[in-house]
């Protein structure tokens, strides 16, 4: 059984805005979401990179205590975008709880804020402080906290997939959700990812010399994907969710069809856990085309992973050239948001859906002089008014995990 899978609702909390209107406005105006790193009283004094893709606007959460008690900051993002998606979908309470709707949602490592609080109690001398570590702290901090807080809040009883593969967390979630529906295991999947404000991740990448450090005084000028003067990634935060549904049932109930997931691939480099791998990435892009049963020339637009690390951008550009040549437009959307880790795949997919819906393509911010070591591609230097029929969303993670999602414009779904 192979069924078609469409996207019927989406929502994203991003460093450049919340909701389609503000995100599109930022993309069109070239508004960066990179801000100075906030002091956490612990690690920031030791970190060289002083920039972060920050959600700095208030969000009107309306969760009651019963819902909040098992949620760390990461689950707030996750449940808010999940709530938006379910409300926008128009799905009935009965179908949400029917067992035919599942959840595929993840984060890089649960809630580091709560984990930090737990670790701090180890250094307390009071026995009562130690014994206060309990089930609630675990539920707030565990790796699958986003997925199960969503199931709990909305009474979802279907499959739960809690991918946690760093930068491919949410692209995997969407890909695995797509496969659940395609092969008839579920009829709908709520998919996405979230990651909260966290200096631990910044410290890790900083120690690996992967973070941007040269633009601390002018945060909006970094990251700089494919630019000659790029100096690394900028960690960011946010949450993003999409609702995937089986095409026939979505059409039958009159659901809005924002796009169709026509292909997905996920593989591993089978070796080094850090360095990007040209063969592995190239293979992923080709496998996705095979899954969609389309030719490379049919893809109009590529949302590149493009973290702005020195080697990552070069290898990805070479893989794109090998598979697609120089035809499709290529944008590095992290130039706006920073690298939102477990969120980035879903966030970049949603930004692409918005651009598809409004017939434009955003340029890569801060791309002033293309690095001659990157392959010659159709980089977007400015806003392009163009309709996109098929887009590729590419993401690659530590651990050698690669993903590619192929999305068809909702207006083209017949």
């Amino acid at each position: 059984m192979k069924r078609r899978v469409v996207i019927t609702a989406c929502s994203a909390i991003t460093p450049i805005g919340y909701g389609q209107q503000s995100i599109v406005e930022s993309l069109r105006l070239g508004r960066s979401g990179i801000k100075p790193l906030r002091d956490d009283g612990l690690l920031t004094g030791h970190i060289h990179s002083r920039v972060f893709g920050t959600v700095d606007y208030p969000i009107d959460y309306a969760f009651n205590r019963s819902q909040r008690k098992t949620m760390g900051p990461v689950a707030y993002y996750a449940c808010q975008v999940a709530k938006d998606v379910l409300e926008a979908s128009g799905l009935s309470k009965e179908s949400i709880a029917s067992g035919r709707l599942g959840v595929a949602f993840g984060s890089t490592h649960g809630s580091p804020t709560v984990q930090r609080d737990i670790y701090q109690t180890f250094f307390q001398s009071l026995e009562t402080e130690f014994s206060s570590i309990g089930a609630v702290d675990y539920l707030r901090s565990m790796v699958h906290t986003t997925a199960v807080n969503i199931t709990r809040m909305f009474g979802i009883t279907g499959r739960v997939i809690a991918s946690s593969t760093a930068c491919t967390t949410s692209s995997q979630a969407i890909g695995f959700g797509y496969e659940m529906i395609k092969f008839g295991v579920q009829d709908a999947m709520l998919c996405g990812g979230a990651d909260e404000y966290d200096t631990t991740t910044v410290a890790v990448f900083d120690n690996l010399l992967a973070c941007s450090v040269g633009y601390n005084d002018c945060p909006s000028r970094t990251p700089r994907p494919f630019d000659k003067k790029r100096d690394g990634l900028v960690v960011g935060e946010g949450g993003a969710a999409v609702l995937l549904e089986e095409y026939e049932s979505a059409k039958q109930r009159g659901a809005a069809i924002l796009g169709e997931v026509i292909g997905f691939a996920c593989n591993n480099n089978g070796g080094d856990l850090i360095l990007p791998n040209l063969d592995g990435i190239t293979s992923t892009l080709r496998l996705a085309l095979d899954d969609a049963n389309i030719e490379a020339k049919e893809v109009d637009y590529i949302s590149a992973h493009a973290t702005a690390t020195k080697m990552g951008d070069i290898i990805e550009s070479q893989a794109i050239e090998a598979v697609y040549g120089q035809s499709p437009y290529v944008t590095g959307l992290k130039s706006y948001t920073g690298h939102t880790m477990g969120t980035c795949g879903a966030m970049e997919l949603i930004m692409t859906l918005y651009m598809m819906a409004e017939d434009f393509l955003a340029p890569t911010l801060n791309l002033q002089e293309i690095d001659p070591r990157c392959a010659r591609l159709n980089y977007t230097p400015e806003v392009i008014e163009a309709s996109t029929r098929i887009a590729a969303i590419q993401n690659f993670a530590f651990g050698g995990v690669n993903t590619c999602l192929l999305i068809k414009n909702g207006n083209e779904v017949v």
């Binding site: 019963s66 008690k69 098992t70 026995e127 014994s131 206060s132 089930a135 539920l139």
Partner: protein, 80 residues
């Protein structure tokens, strides 16, 4: 002690107008996770850790009066 417990239930657990004989679960949506969280707060009030047996006893609590009786028994037990 009654005032302290009521303050915790109102401020931390968002109870609306708690009555001493209200059923914690039915009237205020108090569940097993809340019970574990409340025990942590009770330990802070008492200033010592509860034993596993004492914590298991707490799972029989159904009302605020039960919480107050439970605390009294714990304190009497420790005083002996």
């Amino acid at each position: 002690m009654q005032e302290k417990i009521l303050t915790i239930l109102v401020q931390d657990f968002e109870f609306q107008e708690p009555g001493l004989d209200d059923n914690l679960r039915d009237d205020h949506g108090f569940d097993s996770i809340d019970a574990i969280e409340l025990l942590g707060k009770i330990e802070r009030i008492l200033g010592f850790s509860l034993t596993r047996e004492e914590k298991e006893k707490a799972m029989e609590i159904r009302t605020i009066n039960d919480i107050l009786d439970y605390l009294e028994r714990i304190q009497q037990g420790r005083a002996q």
